[in-house]
Amino acid sequence: MASAAVGTGSPVVKWVLRLLVVGYLVMLVAWPTAYVVKHTFADGLTGIQEALADPDVVHALKLTAQVAVLAVMVNTIFGVGMSLLLVRYSFIGKRALSVLIDLPLSVSPVVVGLALVLVYNGRFGWFGPWLEDHGLQVVFARPGMVLATCFVILPLVIREIVPVLEELGDDQEQAARSLGANAWQTFWRITLPGIKWAVVYGVVLSLARALGEFGAIKVVAGNVGGETQVATVLVQQKYQNFEQQTAYSVSFMLVFAAVLCLVVVALLRPKDGPKEGKEQ
């Protein structure tokens, strides 16, 4: 028997909604994105080749990759630890903490940058002078850029892991412990395999975000071409200097990386979905 639920009947309404959604998304996202691809390959591969011949571009891309990978690594370790803390232990202020975790999502990147500059600046920051005395320059150098990226991607790994950990429960962990496994073994053999896929999604998502961070890094890193300039800042600079071809080429590479990350997540997800369904 045909369901009478809303949206399954009336073909007119269905088509109107379909067209509305597809039209909106095409105008807003798909078409502009496709247009960048077209721009990049307007003269075949020469645009990209020229861009890659520019030492500033190569340096910026390398730096972006280094900062992103480092930040994602730090963030993953921290994220797993934090998720375990949030799910498996109860302590005062836990609710507040879980609200605060989401904070970086709603703080402007420029504000993030400003906050980090205020604390870690070598001249008047809170910790900056002390750190600089110990030979560690944070702001206008790589550590600051990694910090800024970590701030921005902080919630992504945690948000993926926490629901899975809650779903799993701690029966198996208790069993393992009662059979004599120590904390490390329990984590390595029981907990980690359970949250494996959540960690992978989190890492891929945060990698996509880390590669594209702009505002926070721009504030923290300064903008020294060939030194602390990352790819996103380079795009802006090249565009404003009317080197549009280079700007489009670098943009294309960044978009390509971002979409690749999304495709990886989309491909991983269904594989995991049915398996979880069966277990329940």
């Binding site: 078409w31 502009p32 605060l100 400003l114 906050a115 701030f151 979409v259």
Partner: protein, 247 residues
Amino acid sequence: MTWFSLLVLIPLSAIVVKASGGGWSTYESILTNANTRAALQLTVVSALLITLLNMVMGTIVAWVLVRDRFPGKAVIDLVIDIPFAMPTIVAGLVLLSLYGPQSPIGVEVNSTRWSVLLAMAFVTLPFVVRTVQPVLEELDTDVEDAAASLGASRFTTFRRVVLPALVPAIFAGAALSFARGISEYGALVLISGNLPRRTEVVSVRLFSFLEGGNTEAAAAVATIMLMVALLAIVALDVIQRRVARRG
């Protein structure tokens, strides 16, 4: 925990401390500065408009994604996430290439207020869709069938049965997209043209304070932004509760 406070809590409190260091006069001078006030106004109004748009469009998109079936749906699902993963500066560039000078479709919005709306709509697209979608998936069609069999029209069924279940998710998404909207920087910096009093948004203003070395003013503006974001999130939460109770 230490890492978290070093990374997030201490820097954020540093802003507030820095801003209050100048006392009330810093805020006063900022709020009386016409450029800054215009930027604040523009940002908040645009973000509100976009949030409303997202609440409607996001729900429709989620609806089509969950209830409708047609070839290419998986692609649409992917497209939704692009604004989230795409670098914001590239988002600005991307929009500029289609809606900027030499626009192939003859729509030029760069350096107008429309461009601010456009860029905000782009970056906040995924939020409402992604919060409503899972709730809609969980929702059973049985209740809707029951309502329909009792003689409710489609519209009534939607309004009285489906919508109340979606309201919390819609508002949660709206809060996220508002917060993102007022804080957006990268996507706006290229397309909006940053004309003071016309298209300059708060985060761009903040950045120019920073470049000018006026850290105190920057911190004060940042505090105001944090407050507005917090206020909006709380307000949306209150509205959502009220609506949920009535529904």
